[in-house]
Amino acid sequence: MTYDGIGVALFALLTVGILGGAAGVVFLNRITGAALLMAFTFLCMAGMFVLLGAETIAAFQVLIYVGAITVLILYGVMFTPQRDRAYALFFQRQTPWAALFVAPIGIFVALFAFSFRDSGKAVPGGSDLNALATSVFRDYAFPFEVASVLLLAAMIGAIVLVKRDDE
């Protein structure tokens, strides 16, 4: 007796979680609920990474997206003044246009996704850590540093923008 089928079952569960969560983010009226469902979707994505044997990516996914980004979004939602917006849906006439633009992108994404079918798989057990570290800090060290300098500049810019003059 072995548990070979459990991976498939988990995959099915996570897929349902991701699709259901994503649908909830789009269709829910309450913005906070949408933010929390987004966190749930991210969690299910992390589960997918674990199934693929990329535990480090999964850990970073949870650490950054669930632990930090969702909380920041919740902050943003809570500090934004909320009024009753009964008029908001009144002008909502973009559905056909949206469908027209999304459909080609959807076809492209589907084709792109299926092109990965036979590509390699990471080795389970957290051994993706070394490969990740080598690629970030050795092979792509320069782009990594450039990106971090860019982020630093953006952060300083944000601080300068929100700093009050009267201090």
Binding site: M1, L36, E55, L63, G126
Partner: protein, 387 residues
């Protein structure tokens, strides 16, 4: 698959092992919470010159058990305007990452849920998920105090995560592994990481206090100003679950400190017998962990609560620069002297001394103002004819 003991089928043993591990972790968390609440009350009572619980059972030992039964029997009250599902989910979202943390805590050689290669990363990941639960609790309660408590907690936890992770990084640099078992194995003998990295220990401990919402960092649930913050609308066992999660978190942080700095299961007589040795290892681990839990309680009984601006400036102006400097110095010294940890240790002790000496210098204006106020009070007291 792991082969089972006593000739058990590995497939059966896999499920059995999972069951045993989960039951042990749940038992550990709940009984640990009961024991810690008793200890907390007794130790605070001793420090504040009171007696603490004495009436229920010998030395009041059954008091927390009675409290737990009372909590379980309470009506499940839910205010009408709370956000139903999120209100129900919040205690579980706070509780389950804490329970999952026990997977990678190494109690003894071989006594570990799963020896993950990324153990420390996994622990920090779970620690960051607690924020979400507390923010949801604060928001779903539909209460202004709760919301402020939840937002304070989010700001505090996100800020203190940075020095916490940076302190862990120094240990990872010295040991060269993220696996908790390997970190403990590297500290065989007397040279534990506490002697090599005392500064990282201090910064991690302070950040850990903040991460568990304990005094002096318990602003999210400040009773006197926020009527218990995000806990205001909760009652009964849902409220109890938050507290069990808090005590479990304290145990996890103490366990991490024990693993990373105090040598984990290492202690006298652990290699005498193949069965007796690991049991003794579990004992050493538990003793070290509970010593740190007692330090948590000691701090709670002695220090007053921070103001929110003091909390933030402590983190961003002192802890983060110090831990960043620590990471850089440790990395450079490890590159310069790959054979020995002694230069790192010397540098770390010097930096710790420097930081301790720096604090009165940074606070010199406040200290001067305090001295002035005390002098004024003293002269006023003399003027009023009091000794």
């Amino acid at each position: 698959m792991v082969p089972g003991p006593f000739g058990l089928d590995p497939a059966v043993w896999a499920i059995l092992r999972l069951l045993i591990a989960v039951l042990l972790a749940v038992g550990l968390v709940f009984n640990g919470a009961l024991a810690q609440i008793y200890l907390e009350r007794k130790i605070q009572a001793i420090i504040q010159d009171r007696v603490g619980p004495i009436h229920t059972g010998p030395w009041g030992l059954l008091q927390t058990l009675a409290d737990a039964i009372k909590l379980l029997g309470k009506e499940d009250i839910r205010a009408k305007l709370t956000d139903h599902w999120f209100f129900l989910a919040a205690p579980a979202i706070v509780f389950s990452p804490m329970l999952a943390s026990y997977v990678v805590i190494p109690f003894a050689p071989g006594v570990i849920g799963a020896d993950l290669n990324i153990g420390l990363l996994y622990l920090t990941t779970l620690g960051s998920m607690t924020v979400l639960g507390i923010v949801i609790a604060g928001w779903a309660s539909n209460n202004k105090y709760s919301l402020i408590g939840g937002l304070r907690s989010a700001g505090q936890l996100i800020s203190y995560e940075v020095p916490q992770i940076l302190s862990l990084v120094t240990v990872v640099l010295v040991v060269g592994s993220l696996s908790t078992t390997k970190i403990v194995e590297s500290q065989e003998g007397w040279l534990i990481n506490l002697l090599i990295l005392p500064l990282a220990f201090v910064t991690y401990f302070i950040a850990g206090l903040a991460e568990t919402n304990r005094n002096p960092f318990d602003l999210p649930e400040a009773e006197s100003e926020l009527v218990a913050g995000f806990l205001t609308e909760y009652s009964g066992m849902r409220w109890g679950l938050f507290f069990v999660a808090e005590y479990g978190e304290v145990t996890v942080v103490s366990g991490i400190v024990t693993t990373l700095w105090l040598g984990g299961w290492h202690g006298p007589l652990t290699d005498v017998h193949p069965l007796f040795g690991p049991a003794l290892g579990v004992l050493w681990f538990t003793l070290k962990t509970y010593f740190l839990v007692l330090v948590f309680m000691w701090i709670r009984a002695t220090l007053p609560r921070f103001r929110i601006d003091q909390l933030m400036s402590l983190c961003w102006k002192l802890l983060i620069p110090v831990t960043l400097l620590n990471v850089m110095v440790t990395a450079v010294l490890l590159l310069a002297f790959p054979e020995s940890h002694i230069p790192v240790a010397i540098a770390n002790w010097l930096m710790l001394a420097g930081v301790v000496a720096l604090v009165p210098f940074l606070q010199r204006r406040r200290l001067a103002a305090l001295r002035e106020r005390l002098a004024v009070q003293r002269t006023a007291a003399v003027g009023a004819g009091q000794p």
